[in-house]
Subunit: 233 residues, 2 copies
Amino acid sequence: MSAIDRAALDELVGGRQRRLQARDDIIREGDRPEDMNLLLTGWACRYKTLEDGRRQITSFFLPGDICDLNVFYLRMMDHSIGALTGITYAEVPRATYERVSGRHPRILQALTWDTLVAMAVQREWTVNIGQRSAYERIGHLFCELFYRLRAVGLTDGDSCDLPFTQIDLADATGLTPVHVNRTLQELRANGLIRLDRRTLTLPDLAALKRDALFDPTYLHLDREGAHLDANDA
Amino acid sequence: MSAIDRAALDELVGGRQRRLQARDDIIREGDRPEDMNLLLTGWACRYKTLEDGRRQITSFFLPGDICDLNVFYLRMMDHSIGALTGITYAEVPRATYERVSGRHPRILQALTWDTLVAMAVQREWTVNIGQRSAYERIGHLFCELFYRLRAVGLTDGDSCDLPFTQIDLADATGLTPVHVNRTLQELRANGLIRLDRRTLTLPDLAALKRDALFDPTYLHLDREGAHLDANDA
DNA sequence: CGAGCGATTGATCATAATCAAGCGATGTGG
DNA sequence: CCACATCGCTTGATTATGATCAATCGCTCG
């Protein structure tokens, strides 16, 4: 990344920064989106709630992720974005976004890239929930999170942070918390995961990948485009 | 849509057009994407297959839909796109796309819009499969398809075409064909649908929406952006 | 006419949901 | 500093939704 690109990135992120506690929402279903949000630290998620209270988490946001690129083209949020941990994020106004992306094609390219990968991940979630068993589903999600965290340097050997509850995990996988708990025990018993105090360890990633039918192609980590990573800023 | 926009659209669609039979693939997982594909007539779908044969349809494409905007930014297809009926589609080379979108901001805006809505639909599918019962799930999908078809003028009163098999429906909803069949009977028995010879009728859309917890907000049909519809071309 | 496909039905099974209760750690107010 | 409330996790018992296995039927097409 060149000095010019870095400056452009600073310009993007350098405006208003905000801080939220776990469980607070960045933006809620029904709101009119005003800004693009870039997660700097902590974990967040996108979710939708049905009238009767059922809740589905549709994406996780890790540090460096863009929560909603271009969402200001839409009149109304059709989902909410909430903090899973304490977070800090940059609020990028539309004008700033347009100025920076207009002047810096590589930044625009990186944002486009990010959008395409986000779509690929969303598709894989559809496959995950639609076709995989509870055991595979949770294993697959763990593989995905581990790969994504590793790509931004947030793993430590075969371990990484996993700062959300089993209820969150249930809402993300379309399972009940009780069943998530039992499935986690099964994964543990098979030596595929260790999970202790918000730290996830994958002692045998190859075996987990096999059992969960995980193929990282969809993450497109072999990126040819420029890489935009808010952690670089 | 102005004459200039229309001319731009003609330029986009006016290149190579192709024709495929049902069950042929436009492009397959593992291929390198070369072009953007615009579906002109017929139905297609995006799908992924697991090693053991399980298959998940992740989106349906209706006439006028863009199958894969910008996909040429990615090195390799992580999914396939297949024809569900006989189809015709326009193959737009990267160069054409870049020339036209560079010169015609409204076209670019319309394509961006399309991408954002496609993402919203993909999220809703995640919710649908993750949280809704088989009955709600199929009902919800029918509502979605009906709304989308109506938006491009492809409905006839409370009826529309539904040119795919129960197996396709099963692969799209994450259910087995047997269970789809039984659920369809239940929907029929409750007077919410009629389904005969590839024609779907929704005699009581309001009731179906209620039972399926369908809220069309996510389709963003109240579009403020320009509307790109290949059928206009 | 026979093959193949899609839809349908029946019987049985399994995965995951539901209901309910208890445990341990953390945190707070009296 | 203790009492108790809360939260996240865990366990047990039971139920239900949807999967699986298997067979039949009608239709179209070569």
